[in-house]
Symmetry: C2
Subunit: 202 residues, 2 copies
Amino acid sequence: MTIRLLLADDQELIRQALGVLLDLEPDFEVVASVGRGDEVTAAALEHRPDVALLDIDMPGLDGLAAAAVLTAQVPGCRVVVLTTFGRTGYLRRAMEAGAVGFVVKDAPAAVLADAIRRVAAGERVVDPALAAATLAAGESPLTARERDVLIAARSSATVAEIAARLYLAEGTVRNYLSGATTKTGTRNRIEALRVADERGWL
Amino acid sequence: MTIRLLLADDQELIRQALGVLLDLEPDFEVVASVGRGDEVTAAALEHRPDVALLDIDMPGLDGLAAAAVLTAQVPGCRVVVLTTFGRTGYLRRAMEAGAVGFVVKDAPAAVLADAIRRVAAGERVVDPALAAATLAAGESPLTARERDVLIAARSSATVAEIAARLYLAEGTVRNYLSGATTKTGTRNRIEALRVADERGWL
DNA sequence: TCCGGGTTCTGACAGATGTCACGGTGAAGC
DNA sequence: GCTTCACCGTGACATCTGTCAGAACCCGGA
């Protein structure tokens, strides 16, 4: 019984190469291949894959959002998230989005193929080292407001803008940002933002 | 006559997939495949490829440095740089490092195969859109000292540290950083650093 | 020779940023 | 009830940062 696959990756070359690689496996069949996150669901509805392999960095809709939509609208299709770098935050968010597999591109092809087969059989598959790292990173130590302020800081550059947007005094915003930098062990709010983002705390 | 290829990419999965993809072409033969920049030269000396396909992001030695070493030590081997995102700065640096081809991973496989054949035949191959972008970005408007300070700012976080390292007054460092932010059209030295880096001005 | 343009370097100043101490509120535990 | 604790919100303060005007220097051209 062959496993029907959907591939989503914005890099044409990688997508084609992965398609060829996976088609070599006798029990795999690549039935669809898209380059944008917002094309995933339509393709899945049309071609009914058993497993969707989603990259995270995609235009239109990122892989995590696409995973959420896909699991909601195409229940028979299981999602494996494939990503460049094993950022621990992505794993948690991928699981929350309904993904049942998580493979990093550093892994050899055999690991990916094995993961696809096990996911198709109903198992959950996560790279053990990555799972450990996620466990080590733990839950977010940020309070709700610290998180809000950091998110606002992502698009607004200056403290005054953030304060205006959240209806807070500037001192308050500075205070939350300071807390965030302390908790992330960084020196700037910019580094704090980067670190918190990487760890999936936002 | 077959073209002998060397593949260098730190992501195991991508490397394997590209290997399979390129081996499908009847006139290509992948003779070596490495995951680290500092393994490129040794592998090239051993297997004597006609064309080396180098990713930029690699541990040990990045693809650009590897290209420089390779062209110096293995003259018969032509270098094609393969990179994720068409950052204009990389193109210039790749050419300076002796690469004769530049392909982005967004391109379809046929483009890559065509580029390899033409490079093997002695041509130079660069994505036209990328070349145009590089031309548009133009030469660096930064002065020598502004460049020095920005590079120092990459590893030192605070102005005082940069000043100490370059034996300058803090005011001077601030001034150069200010000039850099103006010339890059940004608001922070951090954004300035990012932009200058992307454009290959460092 | 002098002049002008560009670069290097500096201190002074205003504004932005990070840290601190503090008060208020609500939930949990005795 | 009271205490404790964590969180929310604020202003004050010291420090850091970015901008400005200007001095010194080099170099090529009138």
